[in-house]
Subunit: 441 residues, 3 copies
């Protein structure tokens, strides 16, 4: 009885083919990424095939950004520890986590005890290789599982790190997709982690898929700024170069990280937790994943630290999966992240952005209730319970007073914004509701 | 020890004789009411005997009100279904619920199967006749209990509806009782339902009793607008004719409906739930009926839908009894509604209005606590616990800062407004408190 | 790894020797205090030895203060009831609670039954002598334990009260300790209770200890107004004499009363519960005594009644111990109050005042996070969990946006203000945080 068009929604999801995110992730997994270096460049080149709009930028070593300085560029050709029999007992070629990030060059013999001071392992997780870095103090080290370490016999070892730490540049990627409005959505993710599949390859592949979807939209009011940066130094450099325009234009933003597994969703709010980004994300999670874990900003650990810093104050939050013990170890492997996990994150973020695209104010065009019966929405014969069939529509109308945006309207009537938007579009077609001059964000 | 006058309160309840509401209800019950027609006029004529101030208005069929049009007037002289033996197996003369509201004229023979498409019953409540209408699409039908329907044998039936559906008018009643202020209280109830005692004769008889009490008050600051209208179309017509003055003057209003039984009270808030009408009603229910059912505006089903529509935005709520399965069936009979149920509703609404009449700001006239002892309120000998006897009075004084109206003051000190008003009046007589230049609503 | 200075904090607690509060309390306990009289003067003279800054003021009997009048001065030389054998069965010399406060002179013989109308005891606590007064109506009476009363045989008794009730004055003490700002903290306590150790000697001795500590501070921004007054009439007289300057200068204040035992702490808020005094007290109690009893202003019983009265509206709250059955009886003795109880109250109030002294706004001096590693706060090698060591510091920085005062900042990051202040002072020394031009209160 209730006519609801299926093609009117701007939540155009069915038309878009499922992006092959897991395939991208498998391809990118082996590359050795760090704050800087050729692994970052290779990763961005790969992503350019997915999103041709991606532009690569280089920032010279030594560039100052607020309290920070871009470090030297780091590249590794080979790194291993071999025993007296010439057997490589720890080898960067097998797993790039074995080498501490930013290890300086070494070529030295030392005994087992001396070597031990340069080894990192996790006694509590004896099978996992930890991820360790020393970006700003010259050092070197090898990471290995506790079992591997325990198996190292006494004797002498030959330590070889063939790396370069020299003036070069920090590399990042940026996609700018204009809409009809100057208002922007910022998406940020990381391309600085070596072979860990969740933190951080889930972020770049989901972000690339979203960028590709956005670029494909025929109607698009908001503009999008999507960045692939090394964590901390990369976002600080980016903010320092674009602070004025970010503060002027960004209405909502998300850090896309740790989203590839199938465990519970989680939400990390912005500093005060009340921005448009927070509101859209909470709305979506409440309906899609009601059991999601709600963290406090005090639980933060990612670049919301920079975007939400005092004086920067961007409206940036993060939808992630919940925290996990495998974090920053070799256990974040290709089995930890799944196609379904990536798809869930993609759809969740896509729903957030669709809400932002439609987050307008809506108002009834007539006073009192419209007569729904003469438009075929209401049964012509009124009997016990007959109104319940149109209660969703009547509730949407009742709160369409031009004072609530789509998110607040949806929260008030207790429906997903996607469903409310369908109803609104039907009512707009019948001239009963008008969309107000936009102030979408 | 504490002198509290008994005659000072404006909650003048003892003086007023109990209105014979149940008697009125029994007299009005048999009349066949609908959106329009002579049953409505007969009902209003009867109520004019109770409240001579009631004025009757007629609005011609075809009058447009916002999205709606006043339908033709409907009157019925006779309606029945008889079998081949001439026995009337369904008869409007026995219960006017048997005929679907606004049934068009019919005189036809049909077999049992053909007849079935025009019958309405409730399988889940096999003894009850449902209430069914078809106001805006020409149709006809008969309503009956499921048992009665099951007992209809095969064979042919003679269906007769002797009704008229013709240009005429919609009839409603209005009582305007002026006070010393232009600020108004709106009370609205329905006179469009056939023989159902709760929805809706409890509303008109309780409203008439309240109107009679208001008219009898010697002091009265607020003005009262009390309307008896057919549901939906009646309120929409009334709003369309009086929108400007309603928006200008109405400070609080209530839809009085479904109040005649003795089950739990319920509260249906205004659209945003924060008007003076909401505050007064919640305050009264909290103290009189702490177990009341608090509905959301999303649970609404009555003309708050019109009064609270976007752009109309009147401060209208409703105190009712809770929802009940007998609703809109013959089981809402004279046993369902009781004298005690009607009396409870009358007293509850009377208390709301008494609070509105006195909802002023009050302020102490002296700094620091007054010396209650020298005025006989406080024991002259101070010992453990002696202050507790005046703690209510001291609490009222403590919050009399001219910033809280009576409702908020009462909520703050945790007492019913009726008790706070007694205390205030004692303190005013002693010159310790002053009533501020009124802004009652 | 984290350098935290030990000498930078303004919470200079270790340097100050423990004040001998319990000794003062024992010395003051036997003195017969009342609203007026030589006991009050003796008490203030004693406290002047502890705090030489204390000034004594006399207000003549008959002075009008708002709704009140200073009563005659009362002094007692002797008071007893003796039996026919000349034995003193009730004697003021043994316990000054035996005589009703403000008893007028009497010398009369009467039989046991006649005497009974002038006796006060507590059947529910048969061993305790109650505290009873009749300040504003001439009367006399004796207070005794129920056991003592039950043991009074029939026969005749000689009642002797050698007291004077004559024009004199009300005596109070005042300490004014200026700071660099005009903004004031008010501390108020009572010196009108006879031999009860908690209500009220705990208040004056803790207040004297705090006054002594304040006077000893080398840096002090706030000014302090500390008053020792008789309850109700004393605070009303004080307010009437100083209303303008109190309203102009007082930013926070506390009534110090009933603080000497070791039972749970309690909090009595100001009238609206949202002043700086409330915020500081709740913050301190939340961290020091999380199980504290939170009273409503409706539970008040002390001079917050005057300071928070409408039109007076001072930001005054009270940290006390929780209510106790021994209140206003001889069971509030020297065993009820303990050195540890007094010390706890002293430290709690001292922490409140220290927070008020430092309740500034703080702001980061750089954008994005500072690089903590190069300042030695952060481990140079980054591995799983290494950030947790500086999470307190990073949280403080994250909310240092110049919008939150110390209390709100501390509440936001979930740390005691004393700890936050340590962190802030470290960051200020490193130039990462600046203290904004003060608006401390």
């Amino acid at each position: 009885m209730i006519e609801m068009s299926n093609n009117s929604s701007k939540f155009e999801t069915a038309m878009h083919p499922e992006p092959p995110m897991y395939g991208w992730l498998k391809d990118l997994f082996p590359i050795c990424r760090s704050l800087t270096g050729n692994g970052v460049r290779a990763t961005l080149r790969y992503l350019q095939k997915v999103v041709p709009e991606l532009r690569v930028h280089e920032v010279p070593s030594g560039t100052v950004a607020f309290d920070w300085t871009v470090p030297n560029e780091w590249n590794v050709s080979e790194a291993y520890v071999e025993n007296e029999r010439g057997e490589r007992v720890i080898d960067f070629a097998i797993n790039n986590l074995h080498l501490m990030g930013y290890s300086e060059p070494v070529d030295a013999w030392m005994d087992r005890k001396e070597l031990d001071a340069f080894l990192y392992s996790l006694p509590e997780y004896p099978d996992w290789i930890p991820y360790v870095t020393s970006y700003y103090t010259r050092s070197w080290g090898f990471c290995l599982s506790q079992k591997q370490r325990d198996a190292l016999s006494s004797g002498r070892y030959h330590v070889v790190v063939r790396s370069t730490l020299a003036a070069g540049s920090l590399t990042y990627g940026e996609i700018l997709i204009p809409g009809t409005m100057a208002d922007e959505v910022l998406l940020a993710t990381y391309i600085c982690h070596p072979s860990m599949a969740n933190n951080e390859l889930s972020g770049p592949v989901v972000t690339a898929a979203i960028a590709s979807w956005i670029a494909s939209l025929q109607e698009r009011r908001l503009s999008y700024r999507i960045i692939f940066v090394p964590e901390i130094i990369g976002s600080i450099v980016y903010i320092s170069k674009h602070l004025h325009e970010l503060k002027k234009n960004v209405r909502a933003g998300y850090v896309v990280t740790c989203v590839g597994d199938e465990r519970a969703y989680s939400f990390l709010p912005s500093r005060h937790g009340n921005t448009l980004a927070d509101r859209a994300a909470r709305h979506v999670l409440r309906h899609r994943a009601p059991g999601y874990v709600a963290y406090s900003f005090l639980d933060r650990g990612s670049d919301e630290r920079q975007y939400c810093a005092p004086g920067v104050d961007l409206p940036v939050a993060s939808i992630m999966r919940k925290k996990y013990p495998e974090y920053h170890t070799s256990a974040e492997d290709l089995a930890f992240v799944t196609p379904a996990g990536l798809k869930g994150a993609f759809e969740t973020y896509r729903e957030c952005l669709s809400i932002l695209e439609n987050n307008d104010y809506y108002r009834t065009t007539i006073l009192c209730e419209p007569q729904l019966g003469k438009r075929g929405f209401y049964p012509t014969i009124s009997r016990k319970g007959s109104a319940s069939k149109v209660s969703e529509m009547m509730n949407v109308i009742a709160y369409c007073d031009g004072q609530n945006d789509l998110i607040e309207l949806s929260d008030t009537v207790g429906l997903p914004a996607s469903r409310v938007l369908e109803i609104l579009q039907t009512l707009i077609r019948h001239g009963l509701i008008e969309r107000l001059a936009t102030s979408s964000c």
